[in-house]
């Protein structure tokens, strides 16, 4: 096993700052102990089963205790959607009035035609023409930021993209991380100025998809009206879509994206302050963009984090 993996495991307790003292790594089949207790007076939570009067872990993760409830928080798990989550999804297909989106979960989510803001932002009934023009709004493979509107009892996930924040992503890159690294927060859209000049938008999707790109990069890519409708309120209040990014901006986007990757490699929770920490360290240590994903930097950063 390489030293990074070992480093990440040794700092298992460190990864989950909520429980700095009690967090302890367990593998499936191991006893889940809290202090010296394995059973008495405790409630059995997720990731544990009762085997011959002992709590035994069923997944690999850290022990978490909330009051009497003992559970194992997994290292890796599939994203479980909850209402209100901001997610990034990729359009897989169109089924009738719905788009099907891959949101890194068990099931694909659906985005109903009535759950989006039409270009121009005029609220009206969706007619058959809209249904035929769905491709113009979100085409196959498009990356769409959306919010989970509801999760039905059978696990079906409904999304909506009503609001200026949501829409098609462009001018940036997607990084996929383990969903447990993303904490639900008040806002998932962040703007960072890594060097006071460039505004970079980070969208940390609850489903582990993280978008790093230029500010206001979301846009109805295929909408010819996009440039015209800028003054309207609604889902299309976006800048004109262009494809070229200047070298300096790209460098900054790349640095932030690499920072996210570094955190993901070290299995550290991902939030803007920490992303900026990585970016700042890389700048301080004079690490070039090319070398950010090299072992030397990742190890050096992990050592800096533990200090």
């Amino acid at each position: 096993m390489n030293d990074i993996a070992i480093g990440c495991f040794q700092r298992g307790s460190f990864n989950f700052p909520d429980k700095p003292s009690s967090a302890e790594l367990v593998a499936p089949g191991e006893d889940v102990r809290v202090g010296h207790q394995t059973r008495g007076g405790l409630l059995r939570g997720h990731g544990t089963i009762l085997v011959s009067d002992r709590f035994t872990a069923t997944i690999c993760g850290t022990i978490e205790r909330v009051g009497n409830l003992v559970s194992v928080r997994p290292f890796r798990c599939t994203y479980k959607p909850e209402t209100g989550d901001v997610v990034l999804g990729r359009v897989i297909e169109r089924a009738g009035k719905c788009w099907k989106l891959d949101i890194n979960s068990w099931q694909d989510a659906s985005l109903h035609l009535s759950a989006i803001n039409l270009p121009g932002g005029i609220p009206r009934r969706r007619n058959a023409d809209d249904e035929l023009n769905m491709r113009q709004l979100y085409d196959d493979d498009d990356l769409v930021s959306a919010e989970v509107q509801s999760v039905h009892r059978d696990g079906t996930v409904m999304l909506h993209t009503r609001g200026p924040k949501y829409g098609c992503m462009s001018l940036g890159q997607l990084i996929s991380v383990v969903p447990v690294l993303v904490k639900r927060a008040e806002t998932h859209f962040h703007r960072v100025c890594s060097d006071l000049k460039t505004d970079i938008e980070i969208l940390i999707g609850c489903n582990g998809y993280i978008w790093v790109g230029l500010k206001h990069s979301a846009c109805f890519t295929h909408d010819p009206e996009c440039s015209k409708s800028q003054n309207n309120t609604g889902g299309c209040e976006r800048e004109v879509f262009s494809t070229s990014v200047n070298a300096h901006t790209r460098d900054q986007v790349c640095r932030v994206a690499s920072a996210v990757r570094v955190l993901s490699m070290l299995h550290l929770a991902i939030y803007p302050k920490r992303i900026l920490d990585v970016v700042d360290r890389s700048n301080d240590w004079g690490v070039s963009n090319t070398d950010m994903l090299r072992r030397a930097f990742v190890v050096k950063f992990s050592e800096w984090m533990t200090d």
Binding site: C168, T290, L293, V298
Partner: protein, 318 residues
């Protein structure tokens, strides 16, 4: 996962500007991690990883030496064949028989780079051509009767692009790692039968393969006006033409193969081959360094008498 049109534009623009999505330039490989001797039961084995992410390209190659009959064309030589399997854990599409066509393509490419020629289906034992990378005569035991058959098995554990390069690097390392036991022929009771073979189980008596001629495959992807090495899965998903060049330690071309969609301009192809040669030469130098380090580590461990774990973990920036 396919990319959206906007993402493809962004990736292509980045390649134009010599700044790829993960910060690399066009001629940069990802961080290569090479472990030798990862499968103790095998004659030789190696694991190669490109990148440090959990989902980075990850392959294991083992070499198994078996005794069998030599081919009719080369009675004094050994034989070699390759087989690659794509783990369904690397992509759901590889479940069942899903990855078979791609696996065959990869094993053929690997075999061709090692043998200089490939014979028929992947199931048949390949005959080696004139450009064979290994000294096959060293693998012969008894002329026309018995020889070593090297079975090179590759397993793709994770696919984040550039699997063929990773496989060829791991193959080279696994061949380096292989320790072929010493075999002596003793006369059997019947003069017509093949003589009996005596296997020396002293590990000190093992012979090693000479891998100095074994090439690595450098795959270049042509994106617009430029070519990139070590494409990630995202970069591969754009279906651009690829050129797979087998390069040996002296920087000479051993094999060339074109894959992917579209065509490549002849001038571009020359430039790409040149780039591949440079990259391949550097890569082999780095691999050789890692081999030497692994060897030294193994020697140190053997001296310590700690023979439980003679894994050598080497990292190097290619």
């Amino acid at each position: 996962m396919p990319l959206s049109r906007a993402e493809i534009d962004y990736v292509r623009d980045g390649i134009d500007q010599n700044m790829r999505n993960d910060g690399r330039t066009r001629e940069d490989y990802r961080e290569l991690t090479l472990d030798l001797g990862v499968i103790p039961q095998a004659t030789g084995s190696a694991r190669a990883r490109l990148g440090l992410d959990a989902w980075s390209t990850d392959v294991i190659v083992t070499v198994k030496a078996d005794i069998g009959a030599p081919s009719a064309e080369h009675p004094g030589d050994g034989r070699l064949r390759c087989a690659v399997e794509l783990s369904s854990a690397s992509d759901t599409a590889y479940g069942g028989r899903g990855g078979e066509a791609r696996a065959t393509e990869l094993s053929r490419a690997l075999e061709r780079s090692l043998l200089g020629a490939t014979a028929g289906s992947s199931a048949s034992l390949s005959a080696h051509g004139e450009g064979c990378a290994l000294d096959m005569s060293a693998l012969g035991i008894q002329r026309g009767k018995s020889c070593w058959i090297l079975q090179v098995d590759g397993l793709v554990l994770a696919d984040d692009g550039n699997v063929l390069d990773a496989l060829s690097m791991a193959t080279r390392a696994a061949l380096f790692d292989a320790k072929i036991p010493k075999v002596t022929a003793v006369a059997g009771p019947n003069p017509d039968d093949p003589a009996e073979l005596e296997l020396d189980d002293d590990p000190e008596e093992c012979s090693r393969l000479d891998v100095s001629g074994v090439p690595v495959i450098v795959t270049l992807t042509r994106v617009g006006k430029h070519s990139i090495v070590d494409a990630t899965k995202d970069e591969e998903s754009m279906r651009d033409p690829r050129l797979c060049v087998g390069v040996d330690a002296t920087g000479k071309v051993r094999s060339v193969g074109k894959r992917g969609g579209g065509g490549i301009d002849l001038n571009a192809m020359c430039a790409m081959t040149r780039t591949a040669c440079e990259c391949g030469k550097q890569l082999i130098a780095a691999l050789d360094e890692a081999h030497a380090k692994a060897e030294a580590d193994a020697a140190v461990q053997a001296a310590k008498g700690d023979d439980d774990d003679d894994d050598a973990d080497d990292a190097m920036a290619a």
